[in-house]
C-alpha cells in the first residue's frame, strides 16, 4: 500500500505542557483541528507512522551531528522531558525497523541517511503523537533533522527526503502515514520566546500547500534567523511534507497564532488518496 496519510503540525512543548494558557477560543480552534486530523488518520487505517521532527540537543551534539537520522530501533523511549513540564507520560513507543531500513535504502540513491537503533524521543515527536495517537500503539519510524547547529541541511535536501519517503512508502505492503512536525517562526528559550512572525508563517504554509519547490528553496538561513528566529529553521520538516506530497491537494485545518504556546498553531492535511 502507498502512503495513506500525510500531514504537518507543530510540536511546541507548550501545546501539552501549558495547554490552559491559551484562550478558550484558541484551544477550540487548534485542538479541534488536531482532533479532525486524528479522525482522518484513524480513517486512513495506517499501520505505521513516519514522524519527521527536528533535533533539539536530545540525541546529537556537535561531536557528530547528522543532517538526517532514521530511527531503526525496535522501540523508542520518550519523552525525555520531565512529566510535569510536558505532561506526557513516559513510555516506549513501538518502532518499525524494517520500514526504517526500507526508507534508508530507497533514499540512498540521492541521500545518505544516518541511522540509529536508540533514538530517544523528545517533545518534537511526542507532542504530535500525543495529539494523533494518544495510546502510542502505532509503530513509529522517527526521522530527526538537524535544524539546530550550522551548517544545516539545505532545503533542497529536505524536499528530496520527502520525495524519497513517498517512493519508499509507496513500495511497501503496509499502510503508512507521514507526520511532519516542525515549528514555524519562534525564538525558543530566549527573551523573545512567545514572539511570532505570523505573515512569515503564512508564507511558509502557503508555499507548502502549493508544493512550490522554488519558493521553499529560496529560504536562506540568514533570512530565516532574522525574520523567524533560530526556531524558524524547523520549516525544514514542512519542506519534507511538500516534497513527499507533490500532486496532492492539501487542506489547512488550522492557522491560529497562539503566543502562549510560542507558535502559530498550524495543522495541514495533505489528503492522500488511497
Amino acid at each position: 500500500m502507498p502512503l495513506v496519510f500525510a500531514a504537518a503540525l507543530n510540536h511546541a512543548p507548550g501545546i501539552t505542557g501549558r495547554r490552559d494558557n491559551a484562550t478558550p477560543a484558541q484551544r477550540d480552534v487548534f485542538f479541534g483541528a488536531c482532533a479532525r486530523l486524528r479522525e482522518r488518520l484513524e480513517a486512513a487505517r495506517a499501520e505505521a507512522l513516519v514522524v519527521v521532527s527536528p533535533e533539539h540537543w536530545t540525541n546529537f551534539f556537535l561531536s557528530a551531528m547528522p543532517a538526517f537520522c532514521v530511527g531503526r530501533g525496535e522501540s523508542h523511549w520518550g519523552p525525555v522531558e520531565d512529566e510535569p513540564f510536558l505532561k506526557i507520560p513516559r513510555t516506549r513507543v513501538p518502532g518499525a525497523p524494517a520500514l526504517a531500513d526500507a526508507i534508508a535504502e530507497v533514499a540512498a540513491e540521492h541521500l545518505d541517511l544516518a541511522y540509529s537503533e536508540e533514538l530517544r524521543l523528545d517533545h518534537g515527536v511526542m507532542v504530535p503523537l500525543h495529539l494523533l495517537v494518544p495510546a502510542m500503539g502505532l509503530p513509529v519510524v522517527p526521522i530527526i533533522i538537524n535544524c539546530l547547529a550550522q551548517p544545516l541541511p539545505h532545503m533542497a535536501r529536505c524536499w528530496t527526503l520527502g520525495e524519497a519517503l513517498r517512493r519508499a512508502c509507496d513500495a511497501r505492503a503496509e499502510r503508512i502515514g507521514l507526520v511532519c512536525a516542525g515549528g514555524l517562526s519562534h525564538w525558543p528559550a530566549t527573551p523573545r520566546s512567545g514572539k511570532l512572525n505570523v505573515p512569515w508563517d503564512r508564507d511558509v504554509v502557503d508555499a507548502v500547500l502549493a508544493h512550490d519547490r522554488a519558493r521553499l528553496l529560496a529560504y536562506r538561513d540568514d533570512d530565516i534567523v532574522r525574520e523567524a528566529g533560530p526556531g524558524g529553521h524547523e520549516i525544514r520538516a514542512w519542506a519534507v511534507l511538500a516534497g513527499a506530497t507533490e500532486g496532492l491537494g492539501g487542506e489547512l485545518l488550522c492557522f491560529e497564532p497562539i503566543p502562549a504556546y510560542a507558535v502559530t498553531g498550524a495543522v495541514l492535511d495533505m489528503r492522500v488518496a488511497a
Partner: protein, 93 residues
C-alpha cells in the same frame, strides 16, 4: 575559549543521568577533567547563567541547566535579557 567543551558538558548533564550523578557528588573533579578555561569552569561551577549566555551557549542547552540551578523561568528570561542589554544578542548558532 572552549565553548565546545562547555556546551558538551551541558549536553551531557541534560541527557545523561550518570553524568548528573557525578555532577552532584564529584563536581570539582568533573570540571577539572573537562578541557575548560578557568572562567568557563567558574561559570559552570557557580551556575552563572548570564556568563554562559554571554559566551555563546545555545539557549536550548542553557535553559535546562538554568532550571537545574534553581532559576525559575521568568528569572531565566530576565537574566538573558540583562545580558542582551549590555552586550547585545549573542550570535545564534
Amino acid at each position: 575559549m572552549s565553548l565546545y567543551h562547555v556546551q558538551k558538558l551541558l549536553f551531557g548533564l541534560n541527557n545523561d543521568a550518570a553524568l548528573r550523578d557525578r555532577w552532584a557528588t564529584d563536581r570539582a573533579a568533573l570540571l577539572a577533567d573537562a578541557a575548560l578555561e578557568a572562567s568557563e569552569r567558574a561559570a559552570l561551577e557557580s551556575g552563572d547563567v548570564a556568563a554562559l549566555y554571554a559566551m555563546g551557549v545555545h539557549p536550548l542547552l542553557l535553559a535546562p541547566f538554568a532550571g537545574r540551578c534553581g532559576l525559575a523561568w521568568p528569572d531565566y528570561l530576565a537574566t538573558l535579557a540583562a545580558v542582551e542589554q549590555t552586550s547585545g544578542i549573542p550570535d545564534p548558532r
